[in-house]
Each structure stands twice: as C-alpha cells, then as structure tokens.
C-alpha cells in the first residue's frame, strides 16, 4: 500500500500550528469567559490596571517616535554612507535582538543603579532613573532599537540611489531630496518598522521589570502588571490583561500583514 505522505505532512503541520498557537489562545479566551467577562472588565477598570495600560501606551509611543526617527537616519547613514567603522556600527545596532532582557536590565542597573557608574552625578542632579519612568523609557528604547532601522534599510537597499541622483541632478537640495524622493520611497518600510517597534514595546517584560521594579500605580506596565497579578493569584486580572495584550498585539500584526499585502499592485 502507498503511504499518503503528502496528506500526512499536511495534517501534521496544520495540527502542529493549531496545537502550538491556536489552542493556547483559545484556552485563555475560554478562561476569561469562564471567570465572567464582567468581573474581568471590572478588574481591568481598577486604577492600577488602567495606570499600567496607560504607561505601556506612553512607552510604546515614545519608542515609536524616537526609534522611528533614529531608524530613518541610521538606515540612511548605514546604507548610503561609506565610512570607517560602518560594519561595526551595523553589528552593534543588532545587539538588542540577541541580549536577554534580563541582561539588559542588569546592564542598565550597573550604570544607573546603586553603586552604578552614574550614581553620583545623577544623585547630585537629583535624577532618579531606576525604579522610575526614565528607566522604563531607556529599557524600552533599547529593546526596540533595531526594528525601524532594519525595515527601512532593507527598502533603501532595494530602491537604490537612482531616484535620489536624478533629484540632485535637477537641482534639489538635500532636504528636498529626502522629503520628496527618499521618504515616499521608504514609507512602506517605515510603516512596517513602526508596527514591529510597537509590538515589541507593548510586550517588553524582563528589562522593564528589573529597571522599573513594577511598583503598582507607578512603574507597573501591562506586562509587569500581569506578572504581579499572577504572583498574587489574582487570576481574573492576570488573564484579563494577558488577553488584552494578546488582542492588541494580534491587531498590530494584522495591521502589519495588511501593510505588507498591497506591495504586488505597486
């Protein structure tokens, strides 16, 4: 008898993906429904939960703006310019993808924390970085650094310099060239990069936990709220917030897929 390998493979791959991704998502939805949607919503409407969500939204916005701008500039520098140390810089910007968030937290503690490199100057000025808002911002900026840069750089390599050279030949200034030629060319990559930055910022946990300390109502983000709620066995709050984060990140991913889809028409 011939074994239907193709069918077998088909079924196993679909089964694998469903078991690994779909079923766990379904499980958390069911758990929230079981706990009562009203109860969970009530938990999420409490001030500390609202504060955590707002804080995460603010951090994600800061990351998108700052690392979005940085990503455009850095991509232009790395793709269009030739200079000594370019390859080193190119490697360095990818480091945040490899370093464990726990190590990121530790590394910044060694600079800003107790007995850290900058403890004395910071204390003199009266700035508090660790267990405060600036620490959360720094951690989020670190982990989201490469995303916009990589997407924009990919597009820059693809489109080449012909359009820009034409603009310069026709007498456009550097700023006009960027605004009227380069930016429209990279807007697609920029949008994808921003979306990835957003997703990463929403989900950051380890670094934000170590640097922020997850102080309820102060430095607690959506992820550290979930962690604290789990530790305190407040299941409704934990699962509710987890579901909110899962839904938001799925929406972000949907946006990304939608952004990537119309490429064929162009």
């Amino acid at each position: 008898m011939r074994i239907p390998w193709r069918l077998l493979l088909f079924v196993s791959v679909i089964g694998y993906l469903a078991a690994l991704v779909l079923v766990p998502i379904g499980a958390i939805v069911i758990r929230v429904v079981d706990a009562g949607v009203g109860t969970v919503l009530g938990e999420l409407a409490r001030p500390d939960a609202v504060h955590a969500m707002a804080l995460t939204a603010i951090l994600a916005t800061i990351a998108v703006v700052i690392n979005g701008l940085f990503g455009i500039v850095a991509a232009l520098v790395l793709v269009r310019q030739r200079f000594w140390g370019r390859r080193l810089l190119d490697t360095l910007v990818d480091l945040p993808l490899t370093v464990s968030p726990v190590m990121t937290g530790l590394a910044f503690l060694l600079i800003f924390g107790r007995a850290g490199w900058l403890e004395w100057p910071l204390e003199t000025v009266g700035w508090k970085v660790t267990f405060a808002f600036p620490g959360l911002v720094i951690a989020t900026l670190f982990v989201t650094l490469p995303f916009t840069l990589r997407e924009v750089a990919g597009v820059l390599v693809e489109v080449g310099t012909t359009d820009e050279e034409a603009a310069v030949t026709l007498g456009a200034s550097a700023w006009q060239t960027f605004w009227n030629v380069t930016l429209p060319n990279i807007k697609h990559g920029l949008a994808c990069g921003v979306t990835l930055t957003l997703a990463r910022a929403l989900g950051e946990f380890g670094a934000v936990l170590i640097l922020g300390g997850a102080i309820s109502g102060k430095t607690q983000t959506a992820t550290t709220f979930i962690y604290a709620a789990t530790e305190e066995r407040k299941e409704g709050a934990a699962f509710g917030m987890a579901l909110v984060l899962a839904l938001v990140s799925m929406a972000v991913l949907g946006l990304l897929e939608w952004l990537k889809a119309p490429r064929k028409e162009e």
């Binding site: 500039v73 968030p101 190590m103």
Partner: protein, 277 residues
C-alpha cells in the same frame, strides 16, 4: 555624475547624522553592555568559573542548553515542513496559516507563557489529565520546551521560505516524472539546497532560546536545580543584589550567543557569495 553620487552618499549633513547615530548607539547600546562586560570580567576567570560552576548555576546552564537543543531539533523539522507547505501548495486558508506563523513575534512572550499555563497548568482539564498519567508539562521541563517552540515558531519557517521560493519546481516535477516518490524527492531534490537556510534559522532560534525570560518564568515554576533556566537564574541573582554572579553568568551566555550568531553571519556570507556565482 560623481559629484551627484557624492551628494547622495554623503549629503551636506552626512557627518553630523553619522555622529548623531554613533552617539545614540554608543550611549544606549555600547555603554550598558560595556558596563556588563566590565563587571563580568572584573570577577576574574576563576571567579567566572566559580560562578558558572556553582550547583544551581551549572544546572541552570545545562537545562537552558538542552531544552534549547530539543526545541531547535523540533523547530528545524517542523519549520522546514511548514515552509514547504506554505511555498509549494495553494490551499484555502494558506494566508491565515502564514499569519499564524508570525503571531508569536507579536504576542508578548510573557503572555505566551500565560497561555501555556492556562491550557496545560495543573488546574486545567488537559493539564490534570496529563498529570494523572504521570506526565507534568507546566512547572516542568516539557513546558519550557513548549514555550521555546512557541516563541521560535517563525525562525526556521521564515529563513527557509525565501530560499525555497527561489528553487525551480520543475526539478521536483522532473524527478516525479522519472518515478521518484515524495520521500525521495524531498531528501534528494528539495533538502540539499535548503540545508544552509535550515541551519541558519535553527541557530538563530537556539540563540534566542538562550535569552528567553518572559515565557519561561511563568511556565517553568523556577525550581532551583530542576526547572530554573539561566536567564531566570540571572534575574534571581540581580533581584537579590548579587550583580557579580549575574554578570559572570551573563558573560558566558553572551559569548555563546555571539559565537552562534557569528556562525550564522559567516554562513549567510558564504551563501551570498555562492548565489552570485
């Protein structure tokens, strides 16, 4: 023309932009990592050895390595099959399946861990069923592997997909016409040109597994000597104020990841050179 190219390449503010980028990266990435390395190296070779060889640290490192290894093996096989399904077949729901593969990149890893606990934890029906038959998943090592599989789902698929798309299906069809079966076509025609991409994706997922924290910390139960992985161990040391030990173990993990990623980079360069010829 050369002037134009210069203008595009360097721009008028090229130097300023370059300096700004270097400054930002220096401050945000290089400075903290230098601080980490200095702290780790400051412990001294003997100190690092002692920190890593302490029973809890050593068992954590070993657990991290073997669970990453098991995950990588499964991921290599299933990732290749998934890519094959997505590239070589058109079927209803293919785009949906493709989005499913990307989903773990978007979902926070902590949430991924929560989902696994909800589904397979001791309080759930499924988890209770497995536990009754003496097979603990959550708060045990299978849960760690499962979490790692979830977060690394796209790595091999997305590495293999573009390479497979470039391969001409005519070769596979020719082999079929000549009477080769599915298995033979897969191993003799499809697999050899895909191998470098599979290895790249697998090494990347292995490196990611060495760093994973969010999903593991909720899934594994973090029992020292049994289900405590290295990143969670580092977290514990940081929280209890033992920055030296944490930095020493971090250094070892970083060196491992760096070696792996250098291997990936070398492989990619080799591939790029190969493709051009």
């Amino acid at each position: 023309m050369n002037n134009v190219r210069r203008a595009v390449r360097h721009g008028s503010g090229g130097q300023v932009l370059r300096a700004a980028v270097a400054f930002y990266v220096g401050l945000l990435v290089v400075l903290p990592l230098v601080a980490l390395v200095v702290k780790g190296v400051g412990v001294g070779p003997a100190g690092i050895f002692r920190a890593v060889m302490a029973p809890t640290a050593r068992s954590a490192l070993w657990l991290t390595l073997w669970t990453a290894g098991v995950m990588s093996a499964v991921n290599a096989v299933m990732g290749t099959f998934t890519a094959w399904l997505l590239v070589r077949h058109t079927f209803w729901g293919r785009r949906f399946l493709s989005s499913l593969v990307d989903l773990p990149l978007a979902i926070p890893t902590l949430v991924a861990g929560m989902m696994i606990v909800v589904l397979l934890g001791p309080q759930s029906k499924l988890g209770g069923f497995f536990a009754e038959h003496g097979f603990d998943i959550v708060f045990a090592t299978p849960g760690i592997v499962l979490a790692l599989l979830f977060i690394n789902l796209p790595m091999v698929v997305r590495a293999v997909e573009p390479v497979m798309r470039e391969l001409d299906p005519a070769e596979e069809e020719a082999a079929r016409t000549l009477g080769a079966g599915d298995i033979r076509i897969f191993f003799q025609i499809l697999l050899p040109p895909l191998l470098p991409a599979i290895v790249t994706g697998t090494l990347q997922s292995f490196a990611r597994a060495l760093a994973e924290f969010g999903s593991i910390v909720v899934v594994s139960g973090n029992i020292p000597l049994r289900t405590l992985t290295s990143p969670v161990y580092i977290f514990g040391e940081v929280e209890s104020g033992a920055a030296e030990t944490a930095a020493a173990v971090s250094l070892v993990l970083l060196a491992l990841a760096a070696t792996l990623l250098l291997a990936v980079r070398g492989l990619q360069q080799f591939l790029a050179a190969h493709r051009r010829t």
